[in-house]
Structures are given as C-alpha cells and as structure tokens.
C-alpha cells in the first residue's frame, strides 16, 4: 500500500539531532493525554499536546536553561497570557520547550540552568484552559516550526485505532452522507471525515485528533494529511506536509476534517480512508460508490 511522504519530518528531526544522544522524557510522571498536536481549538490548531492529571510536579523534558517565564496576571507590563503561568526552556540543537497552564505561584523563577530532575512548576489550570492540564509545546528553531512533541517523547502504550464515525461529500452546499448514499453526481466534491481517536488503553478521557490520514481513490493516493508540525505561511499557521492547510481549510467543524477535493467522473469509485494514531494503530474504511449523472 502506498504511504506517500510519511516520515519526512521525522527524518529531518533525526538528521538534526543525530549529533548528540537524545534523552528526552515526559515532563510529568502520570501521563494522560487529553489533547494532541493539531487538534481543533475553536479557531486554531493546538500547537502542542495536553496532559491531564493530578496536581503533580512538572520537570524539563531535557536539561536546559530557563529563558522565559510568565506568572499569570502577576506582571502589570506583560501581555495577557492565555498560556497562563508558563516556562520556556532552551535546549541544545535550537530546541525550545514550553510548559503552559502551570499552577499559580508554583514557578521556579530563581533557577536558570535546569536538569530533568528539577521541578519547574506544578501542573495547573491557569490561563485559557478547560481544566487542570499541562500544555507542552516544542519549538524547533532550526526549521522555524512548532513540532509535535510525540515525535520526540518516549512512546505511550496505545492499542486502540482512531474511529471513523462518518464520511461525507460536500458538493456546493450539498452534504452527502456516504454511509447512506452510494450513488453520487459527477463534478467537484470535497471529502469530509469525522474521525476521533479514543486514545490508548486506560488513558481515554477525551477524543483525540488522528495523527495521519491517507485517502486513496481507485488505488491512487489522493490525499495525505499529518499533524507533524506547524509553521507560518502568509500570515497563518499551517500544517506542513499536509498541503500547508490552515486551520479553517483543515477543519470543517470540531471533529470533521476536510480530506481534500475529488473530481468525480462517471463510473465506479472505491474510496479507501486510512486513519492512523501516533502509535501506528490504523483504522481502514473502504467505500464502494458509483458516480452517475
């Protein structure tokens, strides 16, 4: 099966970091993933991962230097902080990590050089967040990208594949449910999919976004989307390796993703949608359709 351009960024990251041994670890002991990179956040992509859990110490993912901190509402001359109280650490290889929504008053504002054993704050709920959770972002200064932290963190146990709850074709303003209608009209259409990942075993709290989606039409790959990294393009943050889609071009609504345009011509059409989570669990959906008109 054709898999397109997967792993391109992973290769770049490996190439970039190959000069030294990487010993990156999770910032908290109890890791319950409740938000994944690229997820829908109202009007923007989530630029990191969110870890739910009890009030617990937060450690650097790797040794480094604290280069910036902000305490929620403490500094009268600071911009309002949707990230709440947060800390930024500079690591080697132009890598920076951001730890957001830390508990108020818990930040270590005295240390500069920190190791993975140091506590930089307590997991909290400050700023624009729907509950107690740590948001971890990783910024790659070499490529000017915000990268999916799961690309660097040790893998989590996850045996559950993302679910494909619905597939639709949008033609003009007509939305067709492909579970119900098997005969389509010819012309341009946008393929939409409602995909939710119910997470790893025992760690399910909230549905997560899929990591990668491949779409094949009559055996040919027509779309490849992956949540690997975000970068700025024409004044908007876009998902790289996913046709540089901006938030409003990627998401149709909170759970429905635009998988790309299809040129529907008369005849049989076999659509194959493969949805994959970060652990590599795949869900495959095959639809046999007809285009008549």
């Amino acid at each position: 099966m054709k898999r397109g351009k997967s792993g391109f960024l992973l290769f770049l990251l490996f190439f970039s970091y190959s000069g030294s041994i990487i010993a990156i670890d999770w910032p908290v002991e109890e890791q319950v993933l409740v938000g994944t990179f690229g997820e829908h956040r109202g009007d923007h992509f989530l630029g990191g991962i969110e870890i739910d859990g009890k009030e617990q110490p937060v450690h650097p993912i790797e040794e480094g230097e604290i280069i910036f901190w902000m305490e929620e509402k403490r500094l009268p001359f600071a911009p309002p902080s949707g990230l709440g109280s947060f800390v930024v650490i500079q690591h080697n290889r132009a890598l920076r990590s951001v730890y957001a929504h830390l508990a108020g008053g818990s930040l270590d504002t005295d240390s500069t050089e920190v190791t993975m054993r140091d506590v930089i704050g307590i997991l909290g709920d400050t700023g624009d967040t729907c509950g107690r959770r740590l948001e971890l972002q990783i910024i790659d200064g070499t490529f000017n990208q915000v990268v999916n932290p799961l690309l660097l963190l040790p893998p989590q146990v996850d045996r559950r594949a993302p679910n494909i709850f619905g597939l639709y074709i949008l033609q003009g303003s007509n939305l067709t449910d492909l579970e119900e209608v098997k005969v389509l009209s010819p012309g341009e259409g946008v393929l939409l999919a409602d995909i939710r990942d119910l997470g790893g075993s025992g760690s399910y709290r909230e549905p997560l976004a899929p990591y990668r989606i491949n779409v094949f039409a009559n055996g040919e790959e027509v779309s490849y989307l992956t949540c690997e990294a975000l970068m700025l393009k024409d004044g908007k943050r876009v998902l790289i390796q996913s046709e540089d889609l901006s938030f409003h071009k990627y998401y149709y609504n909170q759970w429905t993703i635009r998988l790309g345009s299809l040129n529907l011509t008369s005849g049989d059409l076999t659509l194959e949608i493969i949805s994959t989570d970060f652990a590599g669990n795949e869900r495959v959906k095959v639809l046999n359709l007809k285009v008549e008109g």
């Binding site: 604290i66 280069i67 001359f77």
Partner: protein
C-alpha cells in the same frame, strides 16, 4: 481585624505627611487631600461624566472626580478598562462584553482570546498567544494575523502596534495589520524579547531583548520603517516580561532594573536611576519639566515616589498596603490602597 484599622490609619498618616511636609522643587507643590472613599461602605452612583478607572486586587471600578463611585465590581478572571468602557472577562471566553462607565452593556463581540484596550484601540490576543486581531468600535474585524512565535511584549499607540516575540523577533504593524518594520536584535547568546515600547508620537520604538547579554535597543522611524539608532548593554538579565516605556513627550525612555528603574534622557544621553525594593506596579511618566510618579510594592508595603526627571524627589514615601493603584489627571492624583481611594490635589504654591 487589626489590619482593617491599620490601613486607614496609614492612609491618614500618608496624607498628613503629604500635606505637612512638602519638599521644595523647581516648582513647589502642596499635596492636598480632597476626599477619601472606603470601597467597603461606598454607595454606587452610576452617573455619567468624566471618570477615573481603578483596580485594587479582585475589585475594579470607576470613580468620579468628586468621589462618587460609578461602578464597583468583582473581577471575573481579569478586566481591561479605559475611560469609556471595560470588559470583565473569564479565563475561557468566546465573547467580550463591553460595558460603559455606568455599568450598562454597550455591545458583545464574538471572539476567542483575551482583550486588550489601549490608546482607544481594541485587540484580541488569542489563547495560544501567537495570533492577534483588531476590531473597530463597533466590534467589526479590521485585521487578524498569526505569528511564528509566542508574543512576549506588546505596545500600542494610535498609529502602530509593536510586538516582541519569544524567538527574538520584533515587529511593528500599522493600523491595517501590515508589517512595516521587522527587526531582530542581534549579539546575544539567547534570543528572546522581554519588553517593547512605542513613543506616543511614533518617532521611536524600544526593545529589551536577549540573554548574554541583555540589551536595550532604541529604534527611530525613518522612511516608514523603524531602524536601530542606539544600543545599550544592560547589567540585568531578566527572564520575564519587563517594564519599558517612553515618557509621554518622548524625551525619555524608562526601563526596569533589578533595583528600580532607570531612564535615559535622549537630549543629553544621561542615565538616571530611581531605586526601590520589590515589584514595579505603575509608572506615570509625562516627561521634561513634569513630575514622574512611580509606585512599587515590596511584601505588604507600597512605595510612592514623585520626582522631576534628573531632579530631586518631591516624595519618597512607604506605606502599608499590598493592593495599590495610582492614576493622575493633570495636577490631581487618585491613589488607591487596598480598600480605599483618595484624591490628592497638587496645589502650586
């Protein structure tokens, strides 16, 4: 219980000090207490007219020149205020509800993020701090744009908005949201912007950036863009947002230091220091020939310093109070300490 009686007592002592022991200056002033209001027992009179906004901890409101309290409310998560309107917003919000200075709803704007009211302009900084938008007085979107990096510093005047970023970049945007100036302060081991400022007349911008060393850069507007004209290596290395601001007349630029603030006189190149312990709370910095006022806090003590730039102190007074607000309207001061607000007139002798 004891504190409750101590605060008014210190307030009275402060006012007595101001009244009885004015210091000589090039112009002599007497500091004359006019009225004092206890917010715990003040009655609310939502009447129209010029007001002064105040924020004391979890309470905010508007007070009239003659001491009537027009609005007194509890902060939901945070509040932004100017002299005509305010938004009292929650930490997760998809609407900004504008109220006027009598507490009446003006409009509700559907937007996600935290509001900023400054120089009569209204911005929304998105929750992830990498996107900014501006709306007009009717709440209509004027422009919106994402940025590469987290915004760490922001300064607004009527013409421009200056932004500093975690990646060390500094941008100036015009009122259409277009980037007119892009500058990366160089020469530091770590690149981060910790403070930005814009002069009211748009002639100058300033940046505090970097670690190893930390530097102050002054930029001047030439041919529609801002170019660096001056660099100063700083003794401190803050790793958090810092105060940086121009005087209202643009003659000075002031910046936070570990022991107070320093201000640079552009006309002479001289640097002056104002020392205080603890955190800087507010600076009122009109410029040459005018009195500068600085309020700071150290534990449960506040310090009010009034001085002429380059000249002597008129006042350097500590007082008990952890919640402090100072506003100035011409020769009138409105000083809030904990649960009280006081009007003090500066009367020229």
């Amino acid at each position: 219980m004891r504190k409750r009686f101590l605060f008014p007592l210190f307030f009275i002592l402060l006012c007595s000090y101001l009244f009885l022991f004015p210091r000589p200056m090039s112009k002599e002033f007497i500091y004359q207490p006019v009225w004092s209001r206890d917010l715990h027992i003040a009655s609310i009179q939502p009447i129209e007219g010029p007001v002064i906004d105040f924020r004391l901890g979890n309470f905010f409101g508007y007070v009239h020149e003659e001491g009537e309290i027009s609005v007194l409310d509890r902060v939901t998560y945070d509040v932004v205020m100017d002299e005509e309107r305010y938004i009292n917003y929650s930490s997760v919000s998809d609407h900004h509800v504008f109220l006027d200075t009598t507490g009446q709803i003006l409009m509700s704007v559907e937007t996600r993020g935290y509001p900023i009211l400054s120089s009569g302009r209204y911005f929304t900084l998105r929750g992830d701090m990498v996107s900014l938008s501006e709306r007009d007085d009717e709440g209509e979107l004027l422009w919106s744009r994402d940025f590469q990096s987290i915004i760490t510093g922001l300064a607004v005047n009527k013409e421009f908005i200056a932004l500093g970023f975690l990646d060390g970049d500094f941008l100036v945007l015009n009122s259409r949201g277009e980037i007119i100036s892009d500058f990366q302060p160089a020469g530091s081991r770590i690149r981060v912007v910790y403070g930005v400022a814009l002069s009211d007349d748009s002639r100058n911008a300033a940046i505090i950036s970097g670690i190893g060393p930390q530097k102050l850069s002054i930029l001047e507007q030439r041919n529609g863009t801002f170019i660096p004209i001056f660099n100063l290596e700083l003794e401190d290395e803050f790793r958090r947002p810092v105060y940086l601001g121009f005087s209202d007349d643009g003659a000075f630029v002031g910046y936070e230091t570990s022991g107070g603030i320093k201000y640079l006189d552009f006309s002479t190149g001289s640097l002056h220091a104002v020392e205080f312990p603890g955190d800087l709370l507010s600076v009122n910095f009109p410029g040459k020939g005018s009195l500068t006022m600085v309020v700071s806090r150290h534990n449960e003590w506040g310090t009010l310093q009034i001085f002429e730039p380059g000249g002597e102190y008129a006042i350097n007074q500590d007082f008990l109070g952890s919640l402090i607000d100072l506003k100035r309207r011409g020769k009138t001061l409105y000083l809030g300490i904990d649960n009280r607000i006081e009007r003090i007139d500066m009367v020229e002798r």
